[in-house]
Symmetry: C2
Subunit: 129 residues, 2 copies
DNA sequence: TTGACGCATGCCGATATGGGCATATGATTG
DNA sequence: CAATCATATGCCCATATCGGCATGCGTCAA
C-alpha cells in the first residue's frame, strides 16, 4: 500500500464557475425563463417554480455570481432581473455546432474534410478553450 | 429536536441527465470541439487534451450517454464521433434569450411588455416543469 | 421600539463527480 | 494460444451540490 499521495482537489466544477455550469440545473433555467417576463421578487419566483423560498434564493445567488441576473432593492423586496449577456458565450459555443446537426452523418466526413482544408488555408483558428 | 426525517435523495443532477449537464464541464466541451474535426480514438483525444486515458474515457462515456457522441469500433481502436443533435435543445433554449443581450436594459421593459401581450393573445404557454 | 414581512444564510446529510492509479475486458497479431 | 495494444472500469478520496428546516438580517408599519 503506497503512500497514496492523493492530490484530489475539486470534485466537480462549481456551479458558479461559468454560465455553462449555472444553466445546467433545470430550475435555474426556469428561473431565467421566468425572468424574461420582467423583474420579480424571490417569493414570487419560488411560488411559480414550486420550490421553497430558500431554494430559490440559493439558485438566484448562483445566477447572480455568474452574472446572469441582477438584483435591485425595492423596499422590502429584492427584485431580480435578467442579464442575459452571460449567455452569449454559451450561444456562441453551441453555434459552432449548428452545421453538424443539419448534415447527415454519411456526408459528414466530406464536410469535415472541407472544413479542415478551409481552416488550413485560412489559418483561421481561435475557438477552442 | 424533531426526528429529522431527512428525505435527501440526490445532490446534484447527474452529468448524464442531459446535454446541459454534459457540456457543463469544459473538458467535455473541448472534446466535442476536437470531434468536430472528425472521428478520433480515445488516446488521441486524451493526449490532445492533456488528460489521462481513463479520464478521457470517462468523459466520453458521459457524452455517449447523453448521445452527443457515437462510437465505432475500428479494429483495436474505438473511434468516437460527434453527434451534435443533442445540442439543439441547448441552442434553442439559449436562442430564446438572444434579443435580451441586444437590447439595453432601459428599453427592456417595453420589450417585455410587447412579449407579454403577444403571449397572451397567442395563449401560447407550456414550459413549466 | 416592537412586530411583521421578505429574503439570505447556516447547518445537516446523502450523493455523484472528477482526478489518480491499477486492472479487467476486447480485439489483433504472431 | 499467448502476447500486446487500445479502452473501459473499479476504487479511493475530497469536494460541492441540492434539499429541508431554522434563523439572522434589513426594511417598513404601527
Amino acid at each position: 500500500m503506497p503512500i497514496w499521495a492523493y492530490d484530489c482537489a475539486m470534485a466537480r466544477a462549481a456551479t458558479t464557475s461559468d454560465a455553462f455550469n449555472a444553466i445546467a440545473a433545470p430550475q435555474r433555467r426556469e428561473i431565467l425563463v421566468l425572468l424574461r417576463g420582467g423583474e420579480r421578487p424571490v417569493t414570487d419566483l419560488a411560488r411559480d417554480l414550486g420550490m421553497t423560498q430558500p431554494q430559490a434564493s440559493k439558485h438566484l445567488r448562483v445566477l447572480r455570481e455568474v452574472g446572469l441576473v441582477r438584483v435591485r432593492g425595492a423596499g422590502k423586496q429584492r427584485l431580480y432581473g435578467l442579464d442575459a449577456h452571460g449567455l452569449r458565450p454559451v450561444r456562441e459555443w453551441v453555434g459552432g455546432f449548428e452545421r453538424f446537426w443539419n448534415e447527415s452523418f454519411d456526408r459528414l466526413d466530406e464536410y469535415v474534410h472541407e472544413l479542415k482544408q478551409a481552416r488550413q488555408e485560412a489559418s483561421h483558428d481561435g475557438d477552442d478553450q
